[in-house]
């Protein structure tokens, strides 16, 4: 029959299938995606240009904006680096050792995903305030955590913790012990085996998990604003500055900061993706 013999234009972009519902489900998917995600995001990308290039630049180049962006990205980077090390240790302990309450700890690792950020924010804030359980101890050493940039880093460590652990766990669990045995047979010390055999194999997922923790931390708002103290130029994060601009009805400035955040995150994720495929290719 003609319809079978001659591939239509339609058939070129999708393989024929016996199952029904393709048009309906893809149509609804595209409609919903456009209405909820794509069109509103387009509104964000287009908005700052109502200021013109100079106006856009003057919003971004303000010392207060630059300080907020620097804090958001800097604190996120520090928190992600700390999570990379501690997350690796937690994942290692949970998959390799049998520790009491291991299953409970494992379930608890997801808490930052499940606990609303505002709840985490007020909890961390009262924990690390100078009269809080941990803040009081730190105060004895002359260290102030809440209402300083250190508080921001603490909140971002909390929020990013599960990403590294959860990305590493399945890889560690699937890793065969044979290459470790081979390394030991050939006379490698345990430390050599770890740094030359195990760590390179973990590198791609470690990088992925760290990048995810970083990306999440850059945009984080709820868990940070309570503990940060929100002092302009000192402990004011970029998402909070967006909220402040919105409260001043300065939509274009809010959008400008939002676009810069999105762009920097996007570029960094691309770079990390490249790094990750480089690490995977080196294997």
């Amino acid at each position: 029959m003609n319809s079978v013999a001659i591939p239509s234009r339609f058939a070129r972009w999708r393989n024929p299938s016996a199952l029904p519902g393709f048009g309906l489900t893809l149509g609804f998917t595209l409609f919903y995606l456009s209405a909820i995600v794509l069109i509103p995001l387009a509104a964000l990308l287009l908005r700052p240009w109502t200021l013109g290039w100079d106006g856009f630049w003057s919003v971004i180049a303000q010392p207060r904006t630059l300080a907020a962006l620097k804090l958001s990205f800097g604190a996120a980077a520090i928190a992600a680096a700390i999570n990379a090390v501690l997350g690796l240790i937690v994942a290692w302990v949970l998959t390799r050792y049998r520790i009491p309450g291991g299953r409970l700890i494992d379930a608890l690792v997801d808490l930052p995903f499940a606990l609303p950020t505002a709840v985490a924010g007020i909890a961390l804030s009262s924990l690390y305030a100078s009269n809080g359980w941990l803040g009081a101890i730190a105060a004895q050493f002359g260290l102030k955590i809440a209402y300083t940039p250190i508080g921001v880093v603490i909140a971002l460590i909390f929020i990013g913790l599960p990403f590294v652990v959860r990305t590493l766990q399945p890889v560690l669990a699937d890793m065969s012990l044979e290459s470790e045995e081979a390394a030991a047979t050939l006379g490698a010390s345990r430390a050599q085996t770890f740094f030359r055999v195990i760590l390179p194999a973990l590198a791609p997922s470690l990088i992925t998990g760290t990048a995810m923790a970083f990306a999440r931390a850059v945009g984080e708002y709820g868990s940070v604003i309570f503990i940060a103290g929100n002092l302009p130029m000192v402990s004011e994060i970029a998402p909070l500055l967006i909220v402040i601009k919105l409260q001043e009805y300065d939509y274009a400035a809010a959008a400008a900061i939002g676009v810069v955040m999105l762009t920097i995150s996007f570029v960094m994720l691309l770079a990390l993706n490249a790094l990750q495929s480089w690490a995977a290719a080196r294997q």
Binding site: L19, F22, W92, I99, P112, P239
Partner: protein, 283 residues
Amino acid sequence: MRQAFRNPTQDHPAIRIALSAVAITFIVLFLLMPLAVVFSEALSNGLSAARDAIVDPDALSAIRLTLITAAIAVPLNLVFGLSAAWAIAKFDFRGKSILTTLIDLPFSVSPVVSGLIYVLVFGLQGWLGPTLRDHDIKIIFALPGIVLATIFVTFPFVARELIPLMSDQGRDEEEAAVSLGASGLSTFLRVTLPNIKWGLLYGVLLCNARAMGEFGAVSVVSGHIRGQTDTMPLHVEVLYNDYQYVGAFAVASLLALLALVTLAIKSLLEWRYADEIAAVHRH
């Protein structure tokens, strides 16, 4: 002659103890203590003070708004997730990987920006602002805006759970059903749905937890009208900034309980139905 033999793939006992100690300390400091402080602060003036804060009319209205929001947002994202997964997992077409990437997009957008984009579309100075005002339709600073922002931040949960799961399961069973004369709908209800029910529940669970706990995005579109447009997380913020710590932590402890129930069901599903929920659970 006996010689102590240590398995070369196991760490030295001293290292095991040290790493376990680091991991447990980290988990206790960063996960357990924030959780404990929520309940401890809520109950610091006794159970009745906490109860009073929860049955306060403003708190009850916040609880109602949170439930209504989740009751609209979660089913919509459920339908979308099923529809997207059916189109992507059961058919081959061009642009599939771009579509999958776009569905994940909301996870890499800051919560504040997620709210901002709707202000830019529906706000007074937004694209549709003047039109909406002329017709007396309120979206921003009202329920529709809160629901939209919640849909955005929970957009990928169900879809990203179902897409890998349904792709793994292939389409043989559905094709068999259709070739035996089953309609599309009964194929879905009797063949596909039983195969994906636990994965679906898993996705809905995470979607719901985030929908009820979202703070940043909702905070931008809500307008903070007490007793009207404050959700539970926003009510926590209002009370906390009002120095009503017991009240703030009492409402927060409800949200923390929700998080704990979510984690418990999630762990149960992972433990009991590991093979029937997708391998990819990363957020």
